[in-house]
Structure formats: C-alpha cells, structure tokens
Amino acid sequence: MDFSLTPEQNMIRDMVREFALKEIRPIAADTDREGKFPWETIRKMGALGLMGMTVPSEYGGSKIDVLSYTLALEEIGKVCGSTGLTMEAHNSLGVGHIFERGSEEQRRKYLPRLLTGEGLAAWALTEPNAGSDAASLQTTAVLEGDEWVLNGSKQFITNGSIADIITVMAKTDKTKGAKGISAFIVPKGTPGLVYGGEEDKMGLRGSVTSQLAFQDCRVPKENMLDEPGMGFIGAMQILDRGRTAIGALAVGLAQGALEECLDYAKQRVQFGRPISKHQAIQWKLTDMATEIEAARLLVHRAAFLEDRGVPFSKEASMAKLYASEIAVKAAVEAVQVHGGYGFTKEYPVERLFRDVKLYTIGEGTSEVQRMVIAKHLGL
C-alpha cells in the first residue's frame, strides 16, 4: 500500500490550487451574491484542460486518472462550490455520458467544443415527479420517420439553459420500465426545447439550475446515444462515477471550511486569548480535520479502484455519503466557530454553509446512497 501521490498528481493539484486561489477565490463571493455565471473562469479552466478531464486527447480532451480528477475537484470546491458543481456536472455527467456511451461519430461531432470551455454540457435525468426514483421518469421519445420526438419536462438541470448540448433520458418503450429508457443528444436551439426558468436556490447560486420542457422537440434519429433501452443503464454507470466526484467536491468544501476556521480562530480573542486556545474550539477543529481526512481517503480509494478498472460502486457511494455528510457538519461547525460573524456575508463560511447542503442531495441523496450500499451488503 502506498498513500503517496505521483509527481504528476502533485503537479496537477498544485496547478489547480494556484488557479483556484488566483482566479476563483477573489470572485467567489460576488459570483454567489450576484448569481452571476462565471463564464470567463470557465473559459480559462477550459484552456488548462479542466473542462475535458474525462475524454482522451485524441478527441481534444485532457483525460487524466480519476484520482487526479478528484484532486482537481477538491481544489475548486475548496474556494467555490458553484464553480465546482458546474465543472463536475459538465465533466462527469454531460461530457462523460457522450464519451462513454456515444458512437465514434457522436464523439467527434459533439465533444470538441465542449472540451475547451467554449461550450458546456448538461445532463437531464431528474423530472418534477421523478427524483430519487429516476426510473419512473415520464418524458417520452417517439420515432416519427427519421426523427425522435420528445415530450415532457426536466427539473433541476445543472447548466441546463446555458448548455450547448444536453443529454436527455426519455422513455422509448413504456412497457419496459427502466429498460424502456433511452438517452438522446439535444443541442441548444433545437425547436421544441423550451427553457422553463431557473431555480432560486439557497446555495450554489453561481451555478445554473434550470427547468427544461420538451414540446414536440424533434432531433434526428442518429441523436440517440447508445442502443435503444440503454439510457437508464448508461445513466446509472455515469452516476456511479459522478459519486466519487461529488465526494471530492464535498471534501473540498469541508477543507475550505476548516481552513477558514484555522485562520479565524487564531486571530479572534475572547476571554483573554485566541479562541483557538480554548479546548472547546480545538476539539471542533480536530474532529473536523479527522473526518475530512477519512472522507478524503474514501474518495481516493474509490478513485483508485476505478483507475484500476475494478468494481467501485459501493466505495463510490460510501465516499459520496460520508464526504457530503461530514462536509455539512463541518460547515455548521465553521459558522459556530465564527460566532455572530459566521452568520454574516462578511465571511466565506456563510456561503459554504448554504452551498454544501446540495452535496447530500444531488446525484443521489444520502438515503439513496444508503440504498446502494445496503444492496452491496446483500440486504
């Protein structure tokens, strides 16, 4: 067993850390407050390869090992949960699905623009009436001549209204349940693709979360991804991978919270000494640090297994569950350590506190992760 990173992994982490500190941290509070989508940052990330991390170079991507991908996500998440989610939904879900399940032709046609930060990808599974129980989705796709005609609506789609390309899961065979679901590539501007507005969210306000409607939305026959009926199976594979990534972002947010506290606690003096000298504060910070380390190891191990090409679904669920739960706890404690100031927008922990909650919900709630783990335990 060897816990050390390779020189390349170290370099990748250092590069992303420097980028995050220089380019994202200074604007993170404004991005949140103004709900302004940071396009300029995304383009810069594209130039560094950070928007093509799941696709090999022969398609114009910068595919790296999964562990390096988690290191990068942690560094971005540490300074801005919104930018982290944008990056993750793009790489793991939108781009990931087209690369993993797309034909050679589809890859060549749709991926290049998405990998440079010029265009974004979105991925639409969730519907108003189908969240955790995604297989019950109601959007339909019917073949009419050479076109698939989509009808239905999607809810909570990250990058939805600003994406160049959306991967949409829809029912093609109502008699077959999950095996009757197929995946489609729907480009921006397709007639019948209607934007239904953005969610007014508690946190992650610098990321776009859209409602989408499909009203006789027609795409060419060749826009089906994969085989008919493989949409849900493909989506589950993509979500399995996404879980490790969400875990990594959660570790990042938690680490960000811890670092804010370490700075603040050494400076804030109450009862004649820095509050960092009060054992009550020390124990909060020691527990936070310990839980973060455990979560990071779970994330790294899930990534390590995926890199080895062996099953990682259980470990990815565990990593996502634990990392997101301890991250929420860390953010709550971080506000507490900051006292009244933590309750104001003057300090980043207030934003962290609001941002972090999504990570126990998106890409499978904590309850859904426990369902996955229970299945792996043979229950």
Partner: protein, 255 residues
C-alpha cells in the same frame, strides 16, 4: 532560433518557515520545497522569447536529487529539457555559479542565459552576475522588460533610483525581476507531457569542479523576530491619523 538556458533553484517555501524561538534559527526540516518564484518569471520570459523567435529552452539546476521533481514543473510550463547538477556539500555562490557556467559551456552554442534577479530564500542576487563573469559575457541585470531579436537583446532595467535601457549582443546573461511577467500555469496535457521530456544528470567531476574550494564563508543564519508593538490609537480619527503618521515617520517607515 534562440538557444536559451534558464537557471532555476529549488528553495524551501519561505512562507512556511518558522523560527525556533530559543535558538533564533530557522527550522528548515519538513518545509515544503518549490522553485524560487522569480526563476519562474525567468522561464516565462524565455518561453515568450522562444514563442517569438523559436529555439530551445534548457533549465539548469544545481541542487539535491529531489529537485528533479520540481524541474518537471518547469518542463510542464514549457522548458524542453532539464539538467540537474548535484550541489556539493558546503557549496557557496562561487561554486554554484561556476558549476552553472561550466554546465552552460558544456551545453554549448547558448545565446541567452536567464536567471531570477535573486532567489527568494537567500536573496543575494549573486548567481547571475557571477555566471556572466565566469563566461565573460555581457550581463543585463534587474530586467523588467526584455526585447530579444536574433543575435541581440535589449533590456529595460530597474537600477533602484533610475531605469536604464541596455542592449547587448548574444551570448548574454539576463536577470529578471518579478514585475517582468506573470508566469503561466501548465495545462493538464503539458503536465502529463512533462514526463516524456528528458532531465540530464551531470556530475561535478564531469564539469571539472570536484576540487574547487568554497570562497564565501557562511558565518551564521538567524531568523528575524517579528513582534507587534501593539500600539492602538483610539482618539478621534483626525487625531489618530496624525499620531500614527508621526509614529511611523519616527520609525523611518515613511520614506
């Protein structure tokens, strides 16, 4: 085509150094290492010159074996090859600079040598000028703007109390300041590609330097104690500002 050498030093991350309060000595064990910041400015400038005129960039480091990993960072940024020369026990500025100049001679056909104006750990600013001395090449120190053309180079230089513009024919040695540019970050593909770029390891004896005695004597190394004076001016604002200014002036901090 420019054949450029960038001299880069691995240093301890000075921001992380703590001073042992009882001995006043800096604690250097376990401190993370990095490439001295201003050397990255030198490399950035070399990359810009190469982008304009074509050529090749070699980074040269005198340092411990673990410096190889940091040289890779520079290869990722855009250098083509690395050279690592081991740092002899007790090596001083004289030995380090002479090793570098011998390395530059060994490489041959060099047009430009770029160094940081000083390294962020010792900040002596000796290495660049000493290399120029050993090679008997012109030196353009403290450059904050460089214009290179085939066969010659012009540098805008910060001499403290004035700016000067100096032109020299190649080969020449340049040292650059932090203001000259913003070093780029390597992309993921450049990082992955760095593994394929060569790092040559040369020995001290192959450079004919195994018997060279040190000339600079290091007497002692001590941390500077920093303590706040904890003076608070609480009066009404106008008064407080005046008092503060007066106090700062007395300490010689207002130029």
């Amino acid at each position: 085509m420019m054949n450029i050498i960038v001299c880069a030093k691995q240093v301890v991350d000075v921001g992380e150094i703590k001073v042992n309060p009882s001995t006043n000595k800096p604690v250097l064990e376990g401190i993370p290492k990095k490439i001295s910041d201003i050397d990255k400015n030198a490399l950035e400038e070399a990359i810009r010159i190469k982008e304009k005129l074509g050529g090749k960039i070699t980074v040269m480091t005198v340092g411990p074996p673990d410096a190889k990993e940091k040289i890779k960072e520079l290869l990722a940024m855009g250098a083509d090859e690395g050279v690592l020369i081991p740092r002899p026990q007790g090596a001083d500025y004289h030995i380090v600079s002479k090793l570098l100049s011998k390395g530059i001679e060994k490489l041959g056909n060099v047009d430009l040598v770029l160094c940081g104006e000083a390294s962020i750990d010792m900040f002596s600013g000796q290495v660049g000028p000493r290399i120029a001395g050993f090679l008997d090449w012109p030196q353009l120190t403290y450059s904050f703007k460089v214009e290179a053309e085939a066969g010659k180079v012009k540098a805008h230089r910060n001499m403290g109390d004035r700016m000067v513009v100096t032109e020299a024919s190649c080969p020449a040695v340049l040292t650059v300041t932090k203001e000259i540019n913003e070093p780029r970050l390597p992309s993921l593909m450049q990082i992955l590609g760095s593994a394929r770029k060569p790092i040559h390891e040369w020995t001290v004896s192959e450079l004919g330097m195994d018997k060279e005695p040190a000339r600079v004597l290091e007497k002692d190394l001590r941390g500077v104690k920093m303590e706040r004076k904890n003076i608070v001016f609480k009066d009404d604002m106008d008064n407080a500002v005046e008092q503060l200014a007066e106090k700062l002036a007395k300490e010689g901090l207002l130029g």
